[in-house]
């Protein structure tokens, strides 16, 4: 039921058997529309339709492709990157997109101050620090050599650059609008941040512009960007409706009032398909692992004990019975699509007898493990943590390990306990890749010797691993780098085993049968401009 008020924006797009609105059920409300300060998937899903970055992601893959930059070239030393920009692009407010704008954006991000630094979480995470602490920063400077050429200087070699420029947070936004909206004016007030006016009036170059955010009705409406440089979006409007409850999203889809939603429960996939919807299964780009803390439980410092645990876990059965179709047992800490994946590695086989032998060898027949899982959470790599945990508890008990079951709410102390407090011997956690680089996985887990969840610092190999990872990341040559990571992966499996990689689960996206043109992305970075909805 569409109202007559809707045809204000030229509803003549497409033929008459296509709807002019694609309605998507979102699980939560977006935070801010300035992607620099955004942190969560619900927000990025929206900003991705509005904003574009220098680099983009090839639909259906985790690989980068040109977007606002048509090509890029590193200098000899790999510290200067020259980007040739797409020409004739304007922001949706009419401002031109050029090298000046690129540098304005980069500098704006680099020059965050005060609360803005805390709020710009992704920058901190990927670029290290800001202009007030140049030492720690990956970014150095930006020069606009001519209108369509921008040079970005960085401070060290890393496999992540320029890939990270494809992240939504580092999208290009209109300098004029940023200025006008006082975009950097983030303030810590009380115990939260307040965001400037700009954050609700984003101006980007993407296929859509923000039309309205009806907070009262919990809907966000995007409409086609008239000045978009590419093909006009196939559907004029996108409406995001916030529906926090999973089964309600399903009912809404069934009732036809939304056209799709993200992360349908794996158990619903079949039913959804049966009801004529399309479940788009993305490639798995994540890892679920069981973390181990050898510092808290010294028995875990013995490789045999860790191996025993690996043999004890019936990961095959878990994947088959508890994880969505397409999930795989993990042999290493990175998914297959990531360069550096070692195809020769096999997962530790399920072998309870061997596990018991190993425990006996290590003299740990009476091993007790405090094994934790989070509640109040569902992650793509871990749709139902408890079920996974429960299966493992049985496996562990089967080989004579006493398990002390612990759970905490995800936001209610679990994460703190895992990383800051080191409160568990073993725990479940995982990671969804941001972009295609082994460092995004392995570096996150083990690079920081003194502060990582696995407490590798107490292990003799901890330091080596950390150094090897940093070295591998700095290798400029792709082939060499891949080989280095493959080697590290093999060591991680055979010699280190700091934790037990469990599985890679494919997250899905569901749309009604009327929807076409949606390409699922392993990074969950779908753009909706190609989507059509038939009547």
């Amino acid at each position: 039921a569409e109202s007559e008020r809707d045809d204000s924006g030229g509803g003549d797009s497409g033929s008459s058997d296509l709807k002019d609105t694609f309605t998507f059920g979102a699980a939560g409300a977006p935070d801010v529309f300035d992607p620099l300060y955004a942190t969560d998937g619900e927000t990025f899903r929206i900003t991705r339709q509005i904003h574009q970055g220098l680099l983009g992601i090839t639909p259906g893959t985790a690989d980068i492709q040109p977007e606002l930059a048509e090509s890029w070239e590193p200098s000899e030393d790999g510290l200067s990157w020259t980007f040739s920009l797409r020409e004739g692009v304007t922001f949706s407010d009419g401002e031109p997109f050029d090298a000046e704008a690129v540098c304005y954006n980069m500098d704006r991000m680099y020059n965050q101050e005060g609360a803005g630094q805390q709020a710009a979480e992704y920058w901190t995470y990927f670029f290290g620090s800001f202009s007030d602490d140049p030492e720690g920063s990956l970014y150095d400077s930006c020069e606009a050599t001519d209108e369509s050429t921008a040079v970005i200087n960085i401070t060290r070699n890393t496999s992540s650059f320029p890939t990270i420029l494809s992240l939504d947070s580092f999208s290009m936004q209109s300098p004029a609008a940023l200025e006008a909206g006082d975009a950097n004016n983030v303030q810590a007030q009380g115990e939260g941040f307040t965001y400037p006016e700009y954050s609700t009036n984003p101006v980007g170059v993407g296929p859509y512009v923000l039309e309205s955010y009806d907070q009262a009705n919990q809907t966000i409406t995007l409409t086609a960007n008239e000045s978009y440089y590419g093909d006009a979006p196939a559907t004029q409007n996108i409406v995001f409706r916030v529906i926090p409850d999973e089964s309600t999203r399903r009912q809404e889809l069934q009732a036809g009032s939304i056209d799709g939603y993200d992360l349908p429960n794996p158990v619903d996939w079949q039913g959804l398909e049966d009801d004529g919807n399309t479940v788009e299964i993305r490639d798995a780009f994540n890892i679920l692992y069981m973390g181990l803390n050898p510092e808290r439980n010294e028995a875990l410092q013995d490789l045999r004990v860790r191996q025993a645990i690996a043999h004890a876990l019936n990961r095959e059965q878990l994947v088959q019975t508890q994880l969505p179709e397409g999930a795989q047992v993990a042999s290493q800490f990175i998914p297959e699509a990531v360069s550096g994946y070692n195809p020769d590695l096999e997962p530790y086989p399920y072998d309870p007898d061997r596990a018991q032998e190993l425990l006996a060898e290590a003299g740990q027949e009476d091993l007790t493990l405090t094994f934790a899982f989070p509640t109040e959470v569902s992650r793509p790599y871990m749709p139902d943590p408890q079920r996974i945990h429960d299966a493992f508890v049985q496996d562990l008990e089967a080989v004579g390990i006493t398990v002390e079951v612990v759970s905490k709410p995800w936001n209610g102390g679990y994460l703190d306990d895992v990383s800051a407090n080191g409160a568990y011997d073993a725990w479940l956690l995982g990671w969804t890749g941001d972009y295609n680089a082994a460092d995004n996985f392995l570096g996150t887990f083990f690079s920081n010797l003194n502060q990582n969840d696995f407490h590798t610092s107490v292990m003799p190999w901890g330091e080596t691993l950390s150094q090897d990872l940093q070295a591998a990341d700095a290798i400029v040559d792709e082939g060499e780098r891949e080989a280095a990571y493959q080697e590290i992966n093999a060591q991680l499996r055979d010699e280190y085993l700091p934790g037990i990689p469990i599985s890679h689960s494919p997250p899905a996206l569901v749309v009604s049968g009327d929807v076409e043109g949606l390409t699922p992305s392993p990074l969950t970075a779908e753009t909706f401009d190609t989507v059509t909805v038939s009547q």
Binding site: S3, G192, V239, V242, P244, D245, S257, G412, G413
Partner: protein, 335 residues
């Protein structure tokens, strides 16, 4: 009367003040919290420390509380960190309130409109099959978990029959917002389709939310009417030969309503609680929904404001109940 109201208002302030202290201390003693909710897996010790400091969460609790009180005095109740980051928590409350009020009024209205007449009928026919049926129905009404009922309602009316929308408050019709009471807004702007859509969306959630208050009010009404029917003054009224209508309205109902009014007040409080579940399953962007979300993401500022406000509303409604009680009951009024 005025003295009574002032007294109650002061008590109300007291209750809310005490609650604010307890709430504040309690929230901050929770494990985990805002920071880890914001950072998720990506948390590193540095980012964690930086955010904790930025939010002032590293200071002693009493310092935090004093600062909170200081800011609250200027009308600043903090900023949301998770529900709608950057938005004034008070603003969130103000924005969400109409949705909850709309839903509660509809649910309570439904409950009262059904429960009071049926309760009267049941009492009048006490012992009859109709009475037993209604009583059992009301008992079942209390026994069905709200979220389960909500699912059933949605499934049958929205998915199977497609008569009513599954969730939300309104179709996206681009309606003009004035008060955020959607039905009202539609009427004010003469966008009647907006009102109609809002009304349609109201049906299922208010039904789900109304079951418990219905059951409770029904039973109170029934019991109270039964009691009043046995009172001497009803017999007096009958002995005067008054018409059945006058006896019912003036002598039975006016007295029987006294406990009913109190119950309605108490039920309004219960409604706020029920709203958490109902709003969640119906994606109703109200206070309950915001509360559930604020808990998930440990949004202290929003939690504080919403819980205090809920308590305030509850106490305030009970004040209204007492006042209306005084209006109906001269024994209270003219004391």
């Amino acid at each position: 009367m005025a003295r009574f109201i002032i007294r109650r208002l002061l008590q109300m302030v007291g209750v809310v003040a005490v609650l604010s202290v307890l709430l504040f201390a309690w929230l901050r003693s929770l494990p985990g919290g805002t920071v880890s909710a914001i950072l998720g897996e990506r948390a590193t010790p540095e980012t964690r420390a930086a955010l904790t400091e930025a939010f002032g969460l590293d200071q002693p609790i009493y310092v935090q509380y004093l600062k909170f009180v200081q800011r609250a005095a200027t009308g600043d109740f903090g900023v949301s960190t998770g529900v709608l980051p950057g938005t004034d928590a008070l603003q969130i409350f103000v924005d969400r309130l109409p949705a909850t009020i709309e839903l509660s009024v509809a649910a309570l209205g439904l409950a009262v409109l059904l429960a009071v007449p049926l309760g009267y009928l049941s009492a009048r026919r006490s012992g009859s099959p109709l009475d037993s049926g209604l009583v059992i129905l009301s008992l079942v009404g209390v026994a069905v978990p709200v979220f389960f009922l909500a699912f059933l309602l949605k499934y049958q009316f929205a998915v199977e029959w497609n008569w009513l929308p599954v969730s939300g408050r309104q179709d996206s019709l681009g309606c003009t917002r004035i008060t955020n009471f959607f039905v009202l807004d539609g009427l004010m702007t003469r966008e009647f389709d907006c009102s109609a859509s809002a009304l349609k969306h109201l049906v299922l959630p208010s039904l789900a939310l109304a079951t418990i208050p219905f059951a409770v009010i029904f039973r109170i009404t029934r019991a109270s009417v039964l009691e009043v029917l046995g009172e001497d003054y009803v017999r007096t009224a009958e002995s005067k030969g008054l018409t059945a209508r006058v006896v019912r309205a003036r002598h039975v109902m006016r007295n029987a309503l006294l406990p009913v009014v109190t119950t309605i007040g108490l039920q309004t409080g219960a409604l706020l609680a029920g709203a958490v579940l109902t709003e969640k399953v119906f994606a109703w962007g109200g206070i309950g929904d915001a509360l559930a979300r604020a808990f998930e993401v440990r949004d202290y500022a929003v939690l504080q404001v919403l819980i205090l406000a809920a308590a305030g509303i509850y106490v305030f409604i009970n004040l209204l109940v007492d006042i209306s009680y005084a209006i109906i009951d001269p024994r209270v009024r003219t004391r």
